[in-house]
């Protein structure tokens, strides 16, 4: 008995966590998937009816907007945050004397809740008293900067705030990547008389492919889950102009009482995430086993 216990202690220790993950992640995904195939509304029903919820979803103009916004937001957010992060990392990599302090400044937004970020930018961007009012008070009476309340432009304020929040983190990732490049390769290139910018474009950046991938995964994951920021900054408005799948799902689940729609939209979100993350994780685990 003690022998058995001794042998199986590791499994017994891991078991509760594993069972919890099985039930609360995989079991719950299965439940949501199941319900997304039923006619559930206010209360869940369990008779499978096929894809009606998904049909309703894709017929809904609000969902259409949400998906569109996710596309615009995701694309701009990921591209700009990566680009900005890389530039900042390269700038900071030039033997800057105050690197520590500057890094801290670039990074601190990461520590904030998206609700705080949203609140701050909502105040800064509000046309009545924010940037617009400030520039007007400087004498430019015709200056307009009303993105926050302009249905066409509101989604870009979300992009702006999200980049402000996350680009420092990408910078940190890239900076670590730049520093991990073999110093001897760089020295060899310098001895060969290759100019600094070519060293970056031809040697250092290509060798950081794994970091680009990590940054991409982290950012796309953030983009798809983004919920707090939209709620705090625009509340999904004006109208539904800045709805994302995450806010759509939440609205269906908790204010509209439409469980079927909530479940099917959540499933779509999960599929998008998995399409991006699964190949990445698979290759990661593969390479680590080898």
């Amino acid at each position: 008995m003690t022998k058995w216990l001794e042998e199986h202690t590791p499994k017994l220790v891991l078991a509760p966590s594993f069972i919890a993950i099985l039930v609360f992640v995989y079991g719950f995904i299965a439940w949501t998937a199941w319900v997304s195939l039923t006619r559930s509304r206010l209360l869940p029903r369990y008779e499978i009816e096929g894809f009606i919820q998904y049909e309703r979803l894709f017929d809904s103009p609000r969902w259409d907007t949400a998906l569109n916004n996710l596309f615009i937001f995701g694309l701009l957010f990921i591209l700009i945050a990566m680009f900005l992060g890389l530039i900042l990392a390269i700038l900071l990599d030039q033997n800057i004397r105050t690197e520590g302090a500057i890094r801290t400044i670039y990074l601190y937004p990461m520590a904030l809740s998206m609700i705080v970020t949203g609140t701050a930018w909502k105040w800064i961007l509000n046309p009545g008293l924010g940037i617009e009012a400030m520039v007007r008070s400087w004498g430019f009476e015709d200056f307009t900067f009303d993105w926050l309340v302009n249905p066409e432009m509101a989604i870009y304020t979300v992009v702006l705030a999200a980049i402000w929040q996350s680009s420092g983190f990408v910078m940190a990732l890239f900076l670590a990547g730049l520093r991990s490049v073999d110093g001897e390769i760089i020295k060899a290139a310098q001895v060969d008389g290759i100019p600094t910018w070519r060293v970056y474009t031809a040697i250092i950046i290509p060798s950081m492919a794994p970091i680009f991938l990590s940054a991409f995964i982290v950012l796309s994951h953030l983009a798809i889950k983004s919920f707090d920021l939209v709620i705090a900054l625009t509340g999904g408005g004006p109208g539904y102009a800045t709805d994302l799948p995450a806010t759509y799902m939440y609205a269906m689940a908790f204010s509209r009482g439409d469980i079927g729609q909530a479940a099917s939209s959540a499933m779509i979100m999960m599929m998008v995430v998995f399409a991006i993350v699964v190949p990445y994780l698979y290759s990661e685990l593969r390479s680590k086993d080898g």
């Binding site: 609140t119 990732l173 709620i231």
Partner: protein, 297 residues
């Protein structure tokens, strides 16, 4: 002649080097201003009176510093029908975060220790499944979790939120510790086994004392995640148990009465203070630990 043009060339390249350096620093400062501006505006706004906000400039320093907005935000701002400020919600967040961080970190440490040092058949598959769990969009578990919390009788309670945070934090905490412990040679465990130590003894006497760097990383990560969480807070709490992020959002978006921007900003800073504090005090270690892992991976 040749000499002269040489020195000129050198001088020129030196001049352009200095110019480049200036450009570099100006760019860095410009970006620093971009990142600092919102914090600056938040702080100055929170110290202004409402009159000054209406008449003054967004980025101007307060003409007259007043802490009224802070005391309102802390103890009397309205989050919907209640008007008790963020104070009770701040303590809710503390009561949620501390146990949830402690439990999920401890479990993550044990799990990571098993997966990295006590490999058994299927351990890798179990770890992969736990890892995938980190990446799901939580929307996909909101509905069944709401029902489950109800069934368990902890819907809308602080223990309920602690439970949720522990469950969905496990993947990351396990990952952190696992990545840390795989770099420790297996011979250490073997030596301790030969010395007669068992599973728990080896963990307490040998692995835990080694783990300070990764405990710091995990605690900071979990604390930031849980303190800053909004989705679980807004989905699984009720009037008395909301965390501070939910309260902040309610204050900012409450439609009753005059918009008090200074109070909003003060409340936002209060909500941000704990994580900012942790970041400033221990952020160095976090970045060091985190980037070390991500570069290796």
């Amino acid at each position: 002649m040749a000499d002269l043009s040489m020195t000129q060339g050198v001088r020129q390249s030196q001049a352009s080097k200095i110019a480049l350096r200036w450009l570099l620093y100006s760019l860095l400062v410009l970006f620093a201003l971009f990142y600092l501006m919102p914090l600056f505006v938040m702080i100055t706004t929170s110290l202004k009176s409402l009159d000054e906000i209406r008449t003054g400039d967004l980025i101007a320093l307060p003409r007259e510093v007043t802490f009224d907005a802070w005391s309102t935000a802390w103890s009397s701002a309205c989050t919907g029908i209640q008007c008790e400020g963020v104070r009770p919600y701040f303590w809710n967040s503390v009561l949620i975060a501390i146990p949830a961080v402690a439990i999920s970190t401890l479990l993550g440490a044990m799990n990571g220790y098993v997966v990295a040092q006590w490999r058994f058949r299927g351990a890798n598959i179990i770890f992969s499944l736990m890892l995938f769990g980190c990446f799901i969009p939580f929307q996909v578990v909101l509905l069944p979790m709401a029902r489950t919390l109800g069934i368990m009788g902890i819907a809308g309670t602080i223990p309920g939120l602690i439970f949720v945070h522990v469950i969905y934090g496990l993947g990351f905490t396990t990952l952190f510790f696992r990545n840390f412990y795989v770099s420790i040679p297996a011979e250490l465990t073997k030596a301790a086994k030969v010395d007669g130590a068992g599973f728990f003894r080896i963990f307490w006497s040998i692995f835990l004392p080694l783990s300070l760097p990764i405990i710091v990383v995990t605690v900071i990560w979990q604390f930031t995640q849980i303190w800053n969480d909004f989705l679980f807070g807004v989905s699984f709490s009720q009037a008395g148990t909301q965390p501070v992020t939910v309260a902040l959002n309610n204050i900012v978006n409450s439609t009753t009465g005059v918009k008090e921007y200074n109070v909003d900003m003060a409340a936002a800073i209060i909500a941000a203070l704990p994580t900012l504090f942790v970041y400033v005090v221990a952020g160095k270690y976090f970045i060091r630990g985190l980037t070390a892992g991500s570069v290796k991976g």
